[in-house]
Subunit: 491 residues, 2 copies
Amino acid sequence: MGGMESKVKAALWALQGGTSVVIANGTHPKVSGHVITDIVEGKKVGTFFSEVKPAGPTVEQQGEMARSGGRTLATLEPEQRAEIIHHLADLLTDQRDEILSANKKDLEEAEGRLAAPLLKRLSLSTSKLNSLAIGLRQIAASSQDSVGRVLRRTRIAKNLELEQVTVPIGVLLVIFESRPDCLPQVGALAIASGNGLLLKGGKEAAHSNRILHLLTQEALSIHGVKEAVQLVNTREEVEDLCRLDKMIDLIIPRGSSQLVRDIQKAAKGIPVMGHSEGICHMYVDAEASVDKASRLVRDSKCEYPAACNALETLLIHRDLLRTPLFDQIIDMLRVEQVKIHAGPKFASYLTFSPSEVKSLRTEYGDLELCIEVVDSVQEAIGHIHKYGSSHTDVIVTENEKTAEFFLQHVDSACVFWNASTRFSDGYRFGLGAEVGISTSRIHARGPVGLEGLLTTKWLLRGEDHVVSDFSEHGTLKYLHESLPVPQRNTN
Amino acid sequence: MGGMESKVKAALWALQGGTSVVIANGTHPKVSGHVITDIVEGKKVGTFFSEVKPAGPTVEQQGEMARSGGRTLATLEPEQRAEIIHHLADLLTDQRDEILSANKKDLEEAEGRLAAPLLKRLSLSTSKLNSLAIGLRQIAASSQDSVGRVLRRTRIAKNLELEQVTVPIGVLLVIFESRPDCLPQVGALAIASGNGLLLKGGKEAAHSNRILHLLTQEALSIHGVKEAVQLVNTREEVEDLCRLDKMIDLIIPRGSSQLVRDIQKAAKGIPVMGHSEGICHMYVDAEASVDKASRLVRDSKCEYPAACNALETLLIHRDLLRTPLFDQIIDMLRVEQVKIHAGPKFASYLTFSPSEVKSLRTEYGDLELCIEVVDSVQEAIGHIHKYGSSHTDVIVTENEKTAEFFLQHVDSACVFWNASTRFSDGYRFGLGAEVGISTSRIHARGPVGLEGLLTTKWLLRGEDHVVSDFSEHGTLKYLHESLPVPQRNTN
């Protein structure tokens, strides 16, 4: 109400006091939406008076560019998307000097402010760029058959045919921490799957990310879809991005499990793909083979203990205590310098006394292992359901019936028999490009390939079909005939 | 800190003032979790002092019962799950008198407090129960091949085989409004797909829901899985349930689009399957056939205007204005008494003047239709992307090239050519049991059958396979051979 002049005066007066102001029309919710909640949710409605100067497009504008760029990307031929990725791979090696000099700036600015392992992740090198380029070419190869694949065909009635085809999800927001090599890799995955992409990198890698993003856009521009991949300004808060549910269809955090947990908490109504925990179990059954068990435990725990698919809890059948099998496992763990934490039941049995576990639900991510005793496969399954994270759980046994019982009953993304937990991985599963591992139960579960970045749409081709013709007194009947699905989309 | 006595005294003193109190241990976050946030999130930790007496199990206990009951349900043979559903169908007709008398109580209590359409939805009848029983038998029939189906098999290496199989999602929370017939139907869908289920019905149907839930549990008990389906107390707030993200894997609101919107807002980190809006478009191209267009518009708009797949916006190519085709459509709409709202461009063309639209993004759900003019198929697509809800959009044309362009470019769950929007439906698509229609881009999209209640898990069967054998200097190489998938699971 009132004149605009008084509003602007009030805004200026507030600004002088250091408070930013929004002037917006809140009188017609049908036309303008719910203005106050929109402003609170960080949308750019009305006029914003602030001392801070905006630079470049707003996130909303970037989201729209990613959406429309992604839509164009999705309608390209698969070969054209592959070409873009190959071109990006070429640029990574051709423009090596520029990339490394930008990266050097980041490293210099980070010097003394970041811990050594973080600096290492931040740093790029010729060999890193080379293997990145090789990875990109693999993504290009596995992208050929992803978008536009026909999954199902049904004849609904004469000349009325239904088709379910794969399509990109839409706009992805990928949030990554210090590693700048994430950018071209994630960019290639989005391009391969025809998705628009918003990238949010860490401040510490700003120079590297800027050049890598420019190269990605250069590659995209060979088919006129430069804007499909957008780099979000480092000023934008992750929490604010996670609220843009009209704009973003899927969030993929790439980084520590803490990052994943933070994003899962911040995401309001936008699905998040990722695993926040990998508490993997191995149950060594009474009928396990001595040599296999020891070999499997060592590979699962010691090969790369920081990985999410590394073993964290070893469940041993009670009958095995004080047998050569058990001694062999304990000796191996000593040799490998694995610190043992005893579960309550295992602790009460021991004469020597390793530290008792603080919690049976711990992801050590290091050369540490919890050992607990169980009386049966049922008890092992109960323990896994109670303390596990539904990531990857393994049974070691020679008894096929026990193994199948375990495989059927354990409710985890990956359940293995006589195999290392470490096979839980997109590349090892043969899924081609690895997008991540998901412990969500919705959409993709377990190791996720390019398929995880796709959804489907239904196409129905008719002549002039109306549903009233199929009513009780209508002239037509539903056929619902399954039709053969082409093995490859030749579109 | 301090003695327990003083804490209890303080609690009693607060109680006398009408304030409930929680006494909980917050000193060891590692052991007890983050107590204050747990309490704020409505979890039952510590000791709760309140004047309100609790009745029956807590929601948390019900969630656990649904989880473990569901897990047992999932390990039954498909025939056993079908038997349970058949038994429930029998009970619905055998126990008709009891059900109808409970329903009568609800109706009597609602009399005068609910509007006539709501009373009608609340009311059950012999014929409603009979058709419900028929629906249940259809669900039983379509459930045979759902859980445990092998989707993919890969030979990773010699004697190391990977399998991806369908499994239930876990625990579903279904929230429904006045219609009590929802309960057995949703119960049957959960049983068919092996999921645990929490049901939250409306207060107004409490008596009916109670007896229908008892019958569902009676049916479940023939295979000892009575607890897989739980009816949540009407006292529990929907908002509180939507916070139980550790307990619930998927929320399915069944009711008005307002309910779906409310739930989508309330759900914290739990995915919601449903469509909040169905703003369906039909684009009549310059090369459309006169008779087809009129027939398709009538069926899409007039056959059942309250449905989410009914037509809301008709886009007409400019060349058609003042042609017989256009006149025929307008005449038909007059005969059918459809109120026309003109889009801005259409309004400026008209000499007569129907009401101009308030918003181009409106779901009328009634005999009302927005008409707008576009200059090309590209403009039609742009309009649909800007104002649509990605539900169902149709092109009417005789030009196959234009049609295919539309099918490829429109980014909606369902895109049709020369067919009524009303085909967008699980039954009409031949998906068997209808779970709902989803406008989400993650997991299920469009009409959803039983598959929408399933996820997958990965089973890996090895001998003693470890990943270090596959390293650069290892003895094994990945084969990643695709293996044939059995056509039906005979498990």
